[in-house]
Point group: C2
Chain length 345, copies 2
C-alpha cells in the first residue's frame, strides 16, 4: 500500500487550556505489521477528557504516561482491519482499539475488540458502548450503591460517561440531577435523557440551584467535572454518601496546584464527619465486565431506552480543536472526530 498515514501529534505540551498551535498533523509511513498484529484503518477517533492528562508532563503517573512530543495523541478509535496477522481477525472487520490519532495503526490483535455495527452506529462504540459507557456502567453497578429513590448527581451530564451514568441511574429509579454548561444542553438532558433536573454551571447562582434541586441532599455524586461543580456537590452530600471520582476536567489544564486557601483539610474533615465514601473510578479494572455491559447497555440502546448522542467533528486536522471545544464545554454530546468516511454497513 502506498497510502499516507496522517498523524495528529503534539508540537509542544499545552500550558493551561490547549491551543490549536500545540497540535500538528504530520505525515508518516504506514506501520510494519508484526506477527499477531493487525493493520487497521481509522474512521473515528475518540476525544475524551482523560486525553488531556496524557499530554501533560506534570500529571504523568504510571497509569497515564505522558505522550512524547511528535507522537500521535493516544486514544481509542473505530478501525477497520486492512491486513490481519492474527487468527482472530479478518480483513474488513470493524474493531475498536487504542490506535491514537492517526489514519493507520498496527495493533496486537489481542488488544482489539470487535464492533457490532448492527447494535448501534459506529460512533456509539466510542461513547455509550465504548470506554466511557463502560466507565459509567462500572460506576453505577459496582461502586455507587445507588438505590431507587436516592439522589444521584451527575456532572458533565451529556458527556460520554455522564449521559450513560445519568440514564442508568434513572432506569434504576433514582432521582437524577445533572450539570451541564448551557441552558440548551440542560434542556436536552431533561427532555431526551430523562434527567429529573439539569443545572447550568455557568449561572452565577449555581450553588443555590444545586441546593434547590437536591432538597434532601445527594446520595451519589458521579463526579466528572471537578472544580466548583465538585464543591457544590460536596457541600450537599448526605451522610454516608458516595462520591465516585471519575473525571476532573476543570483541573486538567492546571500544570501546578491552584492558589489557596488549601481546601483539602476541609475535604477530609467533612468526609469523616459525614462518613462519606470517596472512590476512584477506573475502567481499566473492569474489562471483564464488557460482555455483560454490551449486552445490557446495547440492549437498552437498541430498545430506545437509552439515548446515545455523539458530537461529530470532521477531519483529523480539527482533532485538536475538538479537544479544546470539549474541555471548554462547547461540544454537545460525546465528542468524536471522523477522519474518513466509513463504508456503508
Amino acid at each position: 500500500m502506498n497510502a499516507v498515514n496522517r498523524q495528529m501529534t503534539l508540537r509542544r505540551y499545552p500550558d493551561g487550556m490547549p491551543k490549536e498551535s500545540d497540535f500538528e498533523v504530520v505525515m508518516a509511513a504506514l506501520p510494519e505489521v508484526g506477527e499477531g498484529e493487525v493493520l487497521c484503518r481509522a474512521y473515528y477517533l475518540t476525544v475524551d477528557p482523560y486525553i488531556r492528562v496524557h499530554v501533560s508532563p506534570s500529571m504523568s503517573v504510571g497509569y497515564a504516561p505522558t505522550t512524547p512530543l511528535g507522537w500521535p495523541i493516544p486514544g481509542e478509535a473505530i478501525l477497520q482491519v486492512v491486513q490481519s496477522r492474527h487468527p482472530g481477525f479478518k480483513d474488513g472487520e470493524f474493531v475498536a482499539g487504542f490506535g491514537g490519532w492517526q489514519d493507520y495503526c498496527a495493533l496486537p490483535g489481542d488488544s482489539l475488540r470487535k464492533v457490532d455495527a448492527r447494535l448501534a452506529p459506529l460512533t456509539a462504540h466510542l461513547g455509550s458502548l465504548g470506554m466511557p459507557g463502560l466507565t459509567a456502567y462500572v460506576g453505577m453497578t459496582k461502586l455507587a450503591e445507588a438505590e431507587a429513590g436516592q439522589t444521584v448527581f451527575v456532572s458533565a451530564a451529556l458527556g460520554g460517561v455522564g449521559a450513560v451514568a445519568g440514564q442508568l441511574a434513572r432506569l434504576k429509579g433514582c432521582r437524577v440531577v445533572g450539570v451541564s454548561s448551557s441552558a440548551e444542553k440542560c434542556r436536552y438532558a431533561v427532555e431526551a435523557l430523562g434527567y429529573d433536573a439539569c443545572l447550568d454551571r455557568t449561572q452565577p447562582d449555581f450553588a443555590a440551584r444545586v441546593a434547590a434541586a437536591c432538597p434532601e441532599g445527594i446520595d451519589v455524586d458521579f463526579e466528572n467535572a471537578g472544580g466548583e461543580v465538585f464543591w457544590a456537590a460536596f457541600d450537599h452530600m448526605k451522610p454516608y454518601g458516595r462520591m465516585l471520582i471519575c473525571g476532573l476536567v476543570a483541573d486538567y489544564n492546571d500544570s501546578s496546584p491552584p492558589p489557596g486557601p488549601d481546601r483539602s483539610p476541609n475535604l477530609l474533615r467533612m468526609i469523616a464527619l459525614k462518613r462519606l465514601i470517596v472512590k476512584g473510578v477506573m475502567v481499566a479494572d473492569y474489562w471483564d465486565l464488557r460482555p455483560r455491559f454490551l449486552e445490557e447497555v446495547g440492549g437498552l440502546i437498541r430498545d430506545g431506552r437509552l439515548v446515545s448522542r455523539e458530537y461529530v467533528v470532521d477531519g483529523i486536522e480539527n482533532a485538536g480543536r475538538a479537544m479544546i471545544d470539549m474541555l471548554s464545554g462547547r461540544n454537545f454530546g460525546k465528542t468524536v472526530v471522523r477522519i474518513a468516511d466509513p463504508p456503508v454497513v
Copy 2:
C-alpha cells in the same frame, strides 16, 4: 447532698492552639435527677482530639455541635452511680457516660454503659475499651479490609485509637508502621505495642522515612493525624488502598482554611488514578458492635496480647492543660484526667 459540682468550662473559644486561659473552673449546683435518670460522680474524664472540634464555632456541624461558653466541656467519663432513678442501675455501680468535664452529672440511664472494673483498670474503659478502642475496632474490622501481609499505617500510634488500631492490625498479621512525635514514643510503639516500625514525625526527613519504612507502599492508612503526616501517607498509598479518615488533629486548631496552594485537586486526582477508597470513620454508627468489641478486645487485654496505656493527669483544674498537651503531642498514651480518687474495687 451538699457537695459542690466543679465544672471545667470554656471561657472563650480557643483561637488556634487552646491556651489554659481559655478554660475556667466554675462551681455549680448538683443537677436535678429526673425520672429515668441517674446521678453520677465522675472519677476520670476523657481527653480526646475530637473535643477540640466541639469547642470551635467554625467547625460546628450537626454531628459535632459547638459547646456553649460557660458549659462543661463535653466528653465521656468514668462515673459511679450516686442516685438512680432508672431501674437498670444501682447506687455504687461504675458506668461510663457523656457527663462532660464536671464532678457530677445526671444522665438518662439509657445512655450509660456499665463498666466492668475486673476486665481492665477503670481508665482503660475510656481508652482501649472505650470509644477510642471501639473506633479502632470498627475501622480495622469493618472498614479497612486489611489482609495479613499488607502494610497498615497508623498515625498517632500511641493514642487512644491508634494504639488499638495498630495492635489489632498486628494481630491480623499485617505489617504495621506507626507515627508518633518523639523517639521515646516510637521506641515504645515498637517494643511494647509490637509495631514493625514507628517514625518520629518531628524529624526533618520524615517523608523519606515513610518511603523507607513502606517499600511496597501503604495498603491501609488509619488516619488520626492529618496535615503533613496525612500527605506523607497519601503519597505512598498503593493502588486500591484504603484511607480511613478518623482524626485530623493537625488541622483542628485552624479556624479558617490554611493558605495555598490548594491541594484538594491533587488529592482527588490521585484518588481517581490510584483507585483509592477514602472513608470516614465515625464510631457512633456502630454502637451495636460494642458487646463483640468488649469481648474480643477485653479478652486480648486480659490475656496480655493487647496493651492499654493511659496518660493520667491529676485534677480537674488541669484538664485544659491535658488537652493542650494532647494536641501538642506531649502526652504518652491515651490522655485521661483523674478528678477524684475512685474507691478501690
